[in-house]
């Protein structure tokens, strides 16, 4: 059992799969907690992480910034972050902000996990 408040973790083929608990990632305190919890996923040697965003109906730019920080941290250690299961309205935000070119966005969780070994 983890003590995480904002995320649930699962291991699939040595990939850490993260599900965000909140459907609306807006509250400033929750976003701060989310950021702290996501940071625990980065290891000195990077790490392979998929964030399944299927639960997320809404996220603010502050929440997006937490994802960017994690992506940067993982990449700097040779790891990789992939996002999956984005709802259309959430994916639109990534398109508007051009962040689809920063994140590896996959249609679903299995596709994202499998992409690490392809």
């Amino acid at each position: 059992m983890s003590d995480f408040k904002c995320i649930d973790l699962q291991n699939k083929n040595d990939v850490t799969v993260v599900k965000l608990r909140d459907d609306k990632v807006t509250d400033a305190e929750r976003i701060a907690t989310l950021g702290e919890e996501l940071m625990t996923l980065s290891q000195p040697d990077g790490g392979r992480v998929v964030i399944n965003m299927g639960n997320v109906r809404f996220l603010s730019s502050s929440a997006i910034n937490k994802l960017i920080v994690l992506e940067r941290r993982l990449s700097s250690g040779g790891g990789n972050l992939k996002l999956s299961n984005l709802r259309p309205e959430v994916e639109e935000v990534f398109n508007i902000t051009q962040l689809h070119s920063v994140f590896d966005i996959r249609a679903d969780e299995n596709d994202a996990v499998g992409a690490f070994d392809s």
Partner: protein
């Protein structure tokens, strides 16, 4: 006679993001009650978050001595928001283009970009501590 649904709001909020989030949800719920479709509310919700929470966090720096004035005038077809903080203000023209390749991973500018995408008008006053947003619902898009 046309039955015009409307919802207005005019309050001074403390510089507390929890209160700000509660007010945002209240605004969203009431706009949906007067007929705004959920599809359109995503952009309105994003813009409310960026305008009100930024005024509390960045404008007033969460100073308990300062307040944020929020005015909403909404009908079934039009949304107007005015947010005024008591901070020093900022220059929106100085915000870096967060879509430029060299700025993609910066932590600033994304909220402003999203407001400009979802709203018809995004207007800052000269001091940079007051923001007005306007959006007209396009009936043929619902």
């Amino acid at each position: 006679m046309t039955d015009i649904a409307y919802w207005n709001y005019d309050e001074w909020l403390p510089s507390d993001t929890t209160v700000g989030s509660e007010v945002i949800l209240c605004i969203v719920e009431n706009m949906q009650k007067i007929g705004w479709p959920e599809k359109e509310m995503y952009g309105v919700h994003v813009s409310l978050e960026e305008a009100i929470i930024n005024a509390i966090k960045h404008g007033n720096q969460r100073d308990p001595e300062k307040k944020v004035h929020v005015v909403v005038k909404s009908t079934a077809e039009n949304f107007y928001l005015k947010v005024t903080d008591q901070g020093a203000g900022f220059d929106p023209l100085a915000v870096p283009d967060c879509t430029a390749p060299e700025n993609l991973e910066l932590g600033s500018g994304r909220g402003l970009l999203m407001m400009r995408h979802y709203m018809d008008e995004v207007i800052y006053n000269h001091a940079g501590n007051q923001l007005e947003l306007k959006k007209q619902l396009q009936k043929n898009k619902t």
